[in-house]
Amino acid sequence: MEIKKVLKLYSLFSDKKWNEIDGNKQVFENFCILTDNLSDEQIDLMFELTQRYKWFTLNDYNSKLTKILQDIFDNELENIDKLILFPIIKPEDEGKIKSGNAAIYMIRGIKPFVDKNNTVSIEEIIEFESLKEQNFTLNPNELIVLIDDYVGSGETLKATLVEVLKNRSITVDKIIVASIVIQQDTIDFLTDIGIKYYSTDTVIKEISQRYVSPELEEKVRIMKDIERMIPGGSHFSFGYEHSEALVTLIRTPDNTFPIFWKEHRKNGKKYNAPFQRY
């Protein structure tokens, strides 16, 4: 590997202030090893994508969730004095520890430090069973807040909505979605069905919605070439549900391009990904 490539990557880490994040050394080593295994045109694309990559730490969670909660308190408390928090989760994943549960726990800690916190109470519900019509009736002074740290293609959100809306006391105008990151396509979906959302970061599909032809086809081809190095990569090609995300949160969502979080193979040898998930 040429030294200028290491230096370029090092400058990129410095510019993005990633050198200040705990655990960055391992990420940098794995990034360099990955770079060493790529061709020049593949490296150029990876650098381009990495420039737009978002790596959120727990400190970021604190400030971003505080902002979201403050925005909700500022805009939603007319005739409302109780928020019911529920994680964005697929029914089949109930009982597992998911990011939505973690975000709810953080909000529990953040709430006392947000303005107007005394004017609203918060209830946490984490099981669909507790939201069923025979067990729960939403009162006019209450609002359901569906929580997660990342909403990508919206599949999980839609599965949650389908279950929650089975309770006839809950209507779309009594639901809001709160997530640190939301993909633009999902925002469009929420707007279409009349559900309000709160987030700090909106993301797009970072190749197909970023470039136009002929550059688009060229970038798609290069990424497909890169993904050939990932064993089983076709299942997550361009990220889960083709989300094309460039995000690492507490954990990297599988919506992110898999080359960033899934191990790759070169000449029969396997290498760890920069932001490995496991």
Binding site: E2, I3, K4, V6, L7, L9, Y10, F28, E29, N267
Partner: protein
């Protein structure tokens, strides 16, 4: 540690510095350093400190050695230059496989195939 007149580097291995300067001079590959166990981060930080000390320069994505860097190589050459020509090319021991009996039918593991 003193590498060149007037320039000090803390916690740096002098041999690694010599190797890095030579890599820059010859536009070589950093594998020689990574094989010694030097992390990419350490290589990047050392390169940055060399740029700050004007031992090497970095202009428009091109890295090259300076006169001062060449002086430093000369200063360290006596100590670290490999004069034994046999040590210029190292055997690639990690690729060596054990002898297989002539009657042994070799079936590679599927996940070890290179294609």
């Amino acid at each position: 540690m003193r590498l060149s007149r007037g320039i000090k580097f803390k916690n740096m291995n002098e041999e690694q510095m010599y190797l890095l300067l030579n890599i820059v001079k010859n536009n070589g590959d950093i594998k020689k350093l990574t094989r010694l166990g030097v992390k990419f981060r350490a290589i990047a930080e050392l390169t940055e400190s060399f740029i700050n000390s004007e031992l090497i320069k970095y202009d428009n994505g091109v890295i090259s050695i300076t006169e001062k860097g060449l002086d430093s190589i000369t200063n360290l050459e006596g100590k670290y230059k490999q004069f034994d020509k046999n040590s210029w090319i190292e055997p690639k021991n990690d690729c060596k496989i054990s002898t297989i009996d002539k009657d042994f039918v070799f079936l590679p593991m599927q996940d070890e195939l290179h294609f």
